[in-house]
C-alpha cells in the first residue's frame, strides 16, 4: 500500500519543490519569458558587444535595406502580385534605405498597393542588416552575420549569442543576490522576528493558557469560550482583516475613541513599524491561537481524570497540577503545534498582504510575502520568477532545518520509544 502515499508525496511535495528548485536556477522573468527566447541584435545587445568586439558592434548597429536582385528573386518566389516585382525592378533597383520606415514608404507607394501585411513581407526580403530582427535559432543569426561579411570564430559566436539571446539562462546569481543583498538580510530578520514572536506569544503560550483555563471551567462555559476563540479562524480572512482595518484606520474605531480624549486621528496600523508589527502579530496570533487551543484541550481531556483526583487528595495546587501533570503529558502536542505552526507562519503571508502589504516602508515584509512580490505581484509588472523561486526554496530549506532542530530539542526518539512499563 505504499503506492498511493508515494504518488501523493510526489505530486504535492516533491514535484512543486523540484520545479521551484529548477526555476530557482534560472534568470526567468517577465522580460525573458518562460518558454525560451530568440536571438535579436538590439541596441542593448550592441552596447554589450561594444567592449569585446567593437568592429562587429559598429558594423551591425545600423539598419540597412537594399532593393537588390536577390530580394527581387525571393519576392517572385512569394507569388504575390507580379506588378510589385516589375515596378520595383524598373524603378528602384539599387536603392539603399537607412531605415525600415523609408523602405516601406517606397513599397507602400507601389501602384498595386500592397496591404500592410504584404508591405512587411516585402520589406523583410530587402533587409540587409541584422538589427532588430528576431532570429528563431542561433545558427540563423550566425548565417545572417556571415552573409553580411562577418566571419566569426567559435568563441566570438558564443559571445554574440550570449549578448543577443532574449530568453532565460541557467544561473546561480539568484542565490548570490539573496546572499549579498542587505535588503534580503533585513527581510530574513523580519521573518525570524515575526515567526518567533507570534509562535511563542500566541500559537503556543496563549493557546496553552486558553486550553488550561478552559479546562478548569464548567463544560458549557468552556465551550462558549473556545467557540469565541475559533471566530478568527473561521471568518474568511479578507473580512477578518478588513475588520482590523476598520479598527485602526484614520477614521476607524480607535481614532474615534481616542478623538474623545483629544488625540488627533491617525492610522494606527501604519503609523510606524512598531504599530504595524503589533497589529500584524495580533492579527496572525488570534488566528493561530485557536488551533493550539483545540489540540491542547483535547490532549488535556485525554489525561486520566484519576490523576487530577489523586493530586487533589495529596493537596496539590492548581499550579502544581499544571506543572507536574498537564505540561509533562503535553510534550507531544506542543512539539506538533510548534513544528506545524512554525512552518505555517513561515509560509503564510495573506494576512500581512491584506493588512499592511509589507509596509510601512518594507517594515513588515516577510520572506514569503517578499517572494510573492518578487515573483508574481508588483507595481512595475517586473515579475522575477527565478529570483522568487530561489527565495521560496530558501524557505523550504529553512523549514526542513527547523523541523529537524525541533525533533532534537523535544527528544522525538524518546517520544516514540515503547513505554518501559509495558515490556
Amino acid at each position: 500500500m505504499i503506492a498511493p502515499a508515494a504518488i501523493m508525496i510526489f505530486l504535492f511535495f516533491l514535484m512543486p519543490v523540484g520545479l521551484t528548485a529548477i526555476f530557482a536556477m534560472t534568470s526567468m522573468s517577465t522580460a525573458t519569458g518562460i518558454s525560451g527566447g530568440v536571438w535579436q541584435v538590439t541596441q542593448g545587445a550592441v552596447n554589450r558587444l561594444e567592449g569585446d568586439m567593437p568592429a562587429l558592434a559598429e558594423g551591425i548597429a545600423q539598419p540597412r535595406f537594399v532593393v537588390d536582385e536577390e530580394g527581387l528573386a525571393a519576392l517572385e518566389a512569394l507569388k504575390l502580385k507580379p506588378g510589385y516585382v516589375i515596378e520595383l525592378r524598373a524603378e528602384h533597383v539599387g536603392e539603399v534605405f537607412p531605415s525600415r520606415r523609408e523602405a516601406e514608404r517606397v513599397i507602400k507607394a507601389l501602384k498595386d498597393r500592397p496591404s500592410t501585411r504584404e508591405v512587411k513581407q516585402i520589406s523583410d526580403l530587402f533587409n540587409r542588416s541584422v538589427l532588430n530582427t528576431r532570429f528563431e535559432s542561433r545558427e540563423a543569426l550566425v548565417r545572417s552575420l556571415e552573409k553580411l561579411g562577418f566571419k566569426l570564430t567559435p568563441e566570438e559566436r558564443d559571445k554574440v549569442a550570449t549578448a543577443t539571446y532574449t530568453g532565460w539562462v541557467w544561473t546561480t546569481d539568484n542565490f548570490r543576490m539573496i546572499g549579498n543583498s542587505p535588503d534580503m538580510a533585513q527581510i530574513f530578520l523580519n521573518t525570524a522576528f515575526y515567526v518567533a514572536v507570534t509562535l511563542l506569544l500566541f500559537n503556543v503560550s496563549y493557546a496553552l493558557f486558553l486550553a488550561v483555563t478552559t479546562h478548569y471551567m464548567p463544560p458549557t462555559t468552556a465551550s462558549v469560550f473556545r467557540a469565541i476563540w475559533l471566530l478568527p479562524r473561521i471568518t474568511p480572512v479578507v473580512i477578518y482583516v478588513l475588520m482590523w482595518k476598520w479598527l485602526t484606520w484614520d477614521n476607524g474605531f480607535l481614532s474615534l475613541l481616542m478623538g474623545q480624549f483629544g488625540v488627533p486621528p491617525k492610522n494606527y496600523l501604519l503609523d510606524n513599524s512598531y504599530n504595524a508589527w503589533f497589529f500584524v502579530i495580533l492579527i496572525n496570533g488570534f488566528i493561530g491561537a485557536s488551533m493550539g487551543m483545540l489540540v491542547f484541550s483535547s490532549a488535556i481531556k485525554a489525561i486520566p481524570e484519576t490523576q487530577f483526583h489523586a493530586s487533589e487528595v495529596d493537596g496539590a495546587s492548581r499550579w502544581q497540577q499544571i506543572r507536574y501533570i498537564i505540561l509533562p503529558q503535553l510534550r507531544w502536542p506542543i512539539l506538533f503545534v510548534t513544528c506545524y505552526q512554525t512552518l505555517s507562519l513561515l509560509a503564510s503571508f495573506q494576512e500581512i498582504h491584506l493588512s499592511t502589504r509589507g509596509g510601512p516602508g518594507k517594515a513588515t515584509e516577510v520572506w514569503s510575502l517578499a517572494a510573492f512580490h518578487t515573483a508574481l505581484n508588483n507595481y512595475t509588472g517586473n515579475l522575477e520568477y527565478g529570483l522568487g523561486a530561489a527565495m521560496a526554496l530558501v524557505l523550504v530549506v529553512v523549514g526542513l532545518v527547523l523541523s529537524l532542530i525541533y525533533l532534537r530539542v523535544f527528544r522525538y526518539d524518546t517520544l516514540i520509544s515503547k513505554p518501559l512499563i509495558e515490556d
Binding site: 517577465t30 539598419p63 530568453g167 505581484n377 517586473n382
Partner: protein
C-alpha cells in the same frame, strides 16, 4: 409513437440545424480587451471598442461581408493584479487580443515575445495614426518598431489649495503668476517645503498635511528625480545619477523631518487621500491631469478652478521644472490567428479616431493624442483639457522603454521608501541602490 410526431420533430431538427448553418456562415470573431489602472471614469478605454466594432461591422457589410464582432471587456482597477494576470495569461497562451497598459511594459513584453509590433498590421502613414503626436508614437516604439498605439496622454501637475496660499500671504495675482514662476525655476521644491510648513504653522492644515504626495509607488516619483537633475536613459542605456537620486531621497526625508509629510504616508488608504485633497485637508499635493475628473465627478469638488492652482513639478537643486506623461498604449498580443489580430488592429485604429478618443480624454480628464482631437467640440469646450494641455504637455518627459527599466524602478522605489520612512539614511539608500543596480544590471546601466 406514431410516424407523424417523428416526422414533425425531424423537420424541426432540420430547420434548427439549417438556421445554425446560416449563422455559422457569417463570421463571428471574439476580440477580448483588457485594460489596467482603469477606474469608473476610464470606461472608454474598453468601451471605445464597442463603437469601433459597430463601425467595422458596417464597413464589412458595405463590402458585402457579414462580420460579427463580439467584444469581451475586462477592465482592472489597479496595476499589480492586472500585470500579474496578463503576464501569466500570456505565458499560458490565453492572452486577450488587445491590452491597454502603460508604455513601459512594451520593453519586457516585446523582448519575451508576448506582444507583436502593431505596425505589422497598421499602416502608420494612414489616418488617424499619422495624425497622432510624433513624441507619443515614439513612446510606443521599442527596438525600432512601433508596438503600441497611444491610447491617451496625460501629465502630472503640482496642485496648490488656493485659500491656504492666500492665508499665508499670496495675492490672487501671485497665485495666477505661479505657473510661470515655476516654469522659470523661480519657485522651487524648496519653496514648496517652506509654504507647506507655513500652512501648518498657521494651523490651516494638520501636521503631515502640508505636502501630501501620492500614496503608493508610481511614475510620479521619477519627476522629482528629474527636478533634481537626474536622467533616466541615454542612448539606450539606463542612467543612475547618484547625486540627483540622493537629493531626491533627501528631499522627502527633509519633508518628513519638517513634519509637513507623514513618515508613514506610503500605503495609506487611497480613498481617504482622495477625500482629503478634495476637501482642503491638504495644502500642496501632486497628482495627474485625470485627478480633475475624480475630484469633480466623484469627490464633490465643484469649484475646482476657484480652489486649486496647478503648475509643473517645480525644479529642485540641479534640475528644472518638469512633468511626466505616462501614456497608455494599445498593444496586440501574440498567439492569435493573423485574421483575428488584423481585426483587433483595425479596431484599435478606429478607436484612435479623434471623436472616439475624445470621449475617453474628456470623461477621464486625460489629454488628447492628436492635434485634430483638440478641435473636436467636446474637447475644445473643456477648460481643463485646454489649460492642462497648454501649460503642461510641452514640458512632459516619459519613462524609457527599456527591458531593464522595471528592475531599475523596483530598486529605486525600494530605497526611496526606505529613506522616506527613515529605515535608511538617504546616503545609505543611494549606496544600497547603487550596489544592487551594479549586481543586477551590470553594463546595462550607467552609474555616475
Amino acid at each position: 409513437m406514431t410516424v407523424l410526431p417523428i416526422l414533425k420533430s425531424a423537420t424541426l431538427a432540420a430547420v434548427l440545424l439549417a438556421s445554425t448553418a446560416v449563422f455559422a456562415s457569417a463570421r463571428d470573431v471574439t476580440i477580448s480587451v483588457w485594460s489596467g489602472g482603469s477606474g469608473p471614469n476610464d470606461n472608454y478605454r474598453t468601451d471605445a471598442f464597442d463603437i469601433a466594432a459597430d463601425i467595422l461591422e458596417r464597413e464589412a457589410a458595405i463590402r458585402g461581408e457579414e462580420l460579427n464582432i463580439i467584444i469581451q471587456k475586462t477592465p482592472y482597477n489597479g496595476w499589480e493584479d492586472f500585470k500579474q494576470a496578463l503576464t501569466l495569461a500570456a505565458e499560458a497562451k490565453k492572452a486577450p487580443n488587445i491590452v491597454a497598459t502603460g508604455h513601459e511594459d512594451i520593453g519586457p513584453w516585446a523582448q519575451s515575445g508576448l506582444i507583436v509590433p502593431v505596425e505589422d498590421f497598421i499602416d502608420l502613414d494612414s489616418w488617424p495614426i499619422s495624425d497622432i503626436y510624433p513624441n507619443l508614437m515614439e513612446i510606443g516604439s521599442f527596438n525600432g518598431a512601433v508596438y503600441g498605439i497611444p491610447q491617451d496622454a496625460e501629465s502630472r501637475p503640482m496642485f496648490f489649495w488656493k485659500p491656504y496660499m492666500k492665508a499665508i500671504g499670496y495675492t490672487d495675482a501671485d497665485i495666477d503668476a505661479l505657473p510661470v514662476k515655476v516654469e522659470k525655476g523661480e519657485y522651487t521644491l524648496k519653496n514648496v517645503l517652506e509654504d507647506a510648513k507655513k500652512m501648518q504653522d498657521k494651523g490651516l492644515v494638520q501636521a503631515g498635511y502640508g505636502f501630501y504626495p501620492r500614496t503608493n509607488n508610481g511614475p510620479d516619483y521619477w519627476q522629482f528625480y528629474t527636478s533634481f537633475g537626474g536622467v533616466m536613459e541615454e542612448e539606450g542605456k539606463l542612467v543612475f545619477d547618484k547625486a540627483a537620486m540622493k537629493r531626491t531621497y533627501q528631499y522627502f526625508a527633509d519633508l518628513v523631518k519638517a513634519g509637513v509629510t507623514k513618515k508613514n504616508h506610503i500605503g495609506m488608504p487611497g480613498d481617504q487621500w482622495w477625500k482629503e485633497v478634495a476637501t482642503g485637508k491638504a495644502g500642496i499635493w501632486h497628482g495627474g491631469t485625470w485627478h480633475y475628473a475624480r475630484l469633480v465627478n466623484q469627490e464633490g469638488l465643484k469649484d475646482f478652478f476657484g480652489n486649486v492652482q496647478f503648475t509643473l513639478i517645480p525644479a529642485g537643486e540641479g534640475g528644472k521644472a518638469n512633468t511626466l506623461t505616462h501614456p497608455l498604449v494599445y498593444l496586440l498580443t501574440s498567439g492569435h490567428t493573423e485574421e483575428e489580430t488584423q481585426i483587433a488592429a483595425d479596431l484599435i485604429k478606429i478607436a484612435s479616431e479623434p471623436r472616439i478618443n475624445a470621449l475617453h480624454a474628456i470623461k477621464s480628464a486625460h489629454l488628447g493624442i492628436s492635434p485634430s482631437e483638440t478641435k473636436v467640440d467636446l474637447y475644445a469646450g473643456d477648460r481643463w483639457a485646454f489649460e492642462a494641455t497648454e501649460r503642461l504637455l510641452p514640458h512632459a518627459n516619459a519613462m524609457p522603454n527599456n527591458a531593464d527599466f522595471g528592475k531599475y524602478w523596483t530598486i529605486m522605489w525600494k530605497n526611496f521608501e526606505a529613506s522616506w520612512t527613515g529605515a535608511k539614511t538617504a546616503d545609505a539608500a543611494v549606496n544600497d541602490a547603487e550596489n544592487e543596480l551594479k549586481s543586477t544590471l551590470g553594463y546595462a546601466i550607467i552609474i555616475r
